[in-house]
Symmetry: C2
Subunit: 350 residues, 2 copies
């Protein structure tokens, strides 16, 4: 998630109006300052001695970013994962984090499960909890509302090699556009959880439903890939808002346009059996996949392709162009009649 | 506020039971790790190259730490001030901060005022906003509850000279106990705002009422004093929970006891005209003053006294002793019949 950028997620009411609201908010907090490296990127950067730190803060609110009653172990994982994904996009090595929690109550089994999920991912990335804050949520209101909402704010700190840091502003015409893994499952998982799609009518197999929900609930931050891309990628972002929206951030910050080839955008085989509108919606506009979307010089194509691992593919999905805007080309060479704007809007609703 | 410690403030329901709940919470998040300097202190410390950073995260929740409808300019000030106060207690030079906000709505006049209060204090301490996150609070509930609560999480980062860092664990028998400024006004301001005291019946002059409310709403982090104490104080904490409670943290971490001299504890002259129970309650147990409470060798008495400035006194209020527990002595030499426990309890209610 970008420094200061709005977040979307389950239950959000964000739409075009809300995005405008958040542009307004951003205006009030966007001040010039000495320590403004990384502004508009996934992390803020500060120089400390000879080291550059990447810092990111993400707040997850019950009823906005996760549903009430969400599995606490998965929530502990996800709260840290979204921050580690920001560090991954910055090519940073995770180092430590602070955890601020507003809790409706001290429920021992909830705490045990949440901390288990949190610390398992932290250990995997050698990222230490160094401090934070614990507080209560406000008392239940007269209207009958429960205490809440449970609110989690994690600030993660990593180290970056500043010489190879790319951010979002370095994409140049002719660069390849790449994405890791597969897209679309997390958005389908969210739609399932919200009861917005009928899996039976769409003939989605139970194992695929489970895979979608797991993708939604338990994202994998692409930390190793992010670090391997240092010195090779010209721009990088994590796919949290959706492919088109997040690519839009790179295009805007880099002052370029792009063409994407629909046929090359990686999605699981079974998703290719769904109706095309659902495919577009989930693969192009669905967020929460937390894959890395990045650009690299065409000359580095072999080097990038070599970063693919058995457990994580990298796919070349398009090209940066000097003409502004985003063009999406079908397999037969025709342009898909869609615009970035339309997808942004769609992504925010219904 | 201590790393991982519970916070109290306006409207909290915290009491002895709640404190036990938070001990439970702390147990789940207190893991040994490589980066565990400063644990139990006001900030966490990490070494980055040859530099040591102090980091602190504080979450302020509407209805818990401030009342709905609180003046946004003062709120912007206070949200940063409580974090800078933690840096002050660590003797750190403030450097930058991240701001995560969950907002019920994007109200332009609220944002303008909040950011004005925030940036005025940030500029005063040359502390730059480097990033963060903005999100919505959950939608209004069917029961009629409004969107909310407004939640502010600031993570502040400062630099410390680790050779002179003291934390809370260094107090030794024979050390003097000192406190900056005056105590009691913030607690009275909170009681006024909650309608818990009758200012007319207590004959509190309007100008004193205003001073108390301002002290509550607009704390001044003692950053310069905190830095000046480096190499001189043996232990330091900011008074956020109340003198007795916060001194208790130093005593527990240092494995010592203390005697406090009631007559020497600084409070405004007019507070000395209030009934003695109110004085004890506000001066000994009232939080939110954000003064620095610290210990120093008796041999450094002159050096510490010289740190007093026209705008900020330092008062010697007691002595660290080897016998555990806290003894509070009246001006006539008798012991005040009160215990740390009793004050903790009182501070948490009603």
């Amino acid at each position: 998630v970008a420094t200061g950028a709005p977040e979307r997620g389950p239950g959000t009411e964000a739409g075009v109006a809300a995005l405008d609201e958040f542009s307004l908010i951003a205006r009030y907090f966007d001040r010039p300052g000495a320590e403004r490296q990384g502004v508009g990127d996934d992390c803020a950067l500060i120089d400390v001695g000879g080291t550059t730190l990447a810092l990111t803060s993400d707040m997850l609110v019950e009823g906005v970013h996760f549903l009430p009653g969400a599995d606490p172990r998965l929530l502990g994982h996800k709260a840290l994962a979204v921050n580690l994904s920001d560090l991954a996009a910055a090519g940073a090595r995770p180092r430590c984090f602070l955890l601020a929690l507003a809790l409706p109550r001290a429920d021992e089994s909830w705490l045990a499960a949440f901390s288990r999920g949190l610390f398992a991912l932290a250990a995997e990335h050698d990222c230490t909890l160094i401090g934070g804050d614990t507080t209560r949520t406000p008392p239940a209101q007269a209207g009958g509302a429960q205490r809440g909402p449970l609110t989690i704010c994690i600030t993660a700190i990593g180290e970056v090699a500043v010489a190879t840091y790319c951010g979002r502003a370095g994409a140049r015409p002719g660069d390849d556009i790449w994405v890791s893994g597969c897209l679309g499952e997390a958005a389908l998982g969210l739609a399932m959880r919200r009861g917005e799609i009928d899996c039976d009518a769409m003939e989605i197999a139970p194992s695929h439903r489970d895979a979608c929900l797991l993708r939604m609930d338990r994202p994998t931050p692409r930390v190793a890939l992010g670090r391997a891309l240092a010195g090779c990628a010209t721009a990088c972002i994590d796919v949290s808002d959706g492919l088109v929206g997040d690519l839009g951030h790179i295009l805007a910050r880099s002052g370029v346009g792009a063409e994407l080839r629909w046929a090359d955008i990686p999605r699981p085989g079974w998703i290719q059996n769904l109706d095309i509108a659902t495919q577009h919606r989930t693969v192009l506009a669905g967020g929460d996949d937390y894959e890395l979307l990045f650009c690299a010089r065409a000359a580095d194509r072999t080097r990038v392709a070599a970063l693919a691992a058995p457990e994580l593919a990298v796919s070349r999905i398009g090209t940066i162009e000097s003409a502004p805007g985003l063009r999406l080309r079908n397999g037969d060479g025709t342009l898909l009649k869609t615009t970035l704007q339309a997808y942004d809007h769609f992504a925010s609703g219904p």
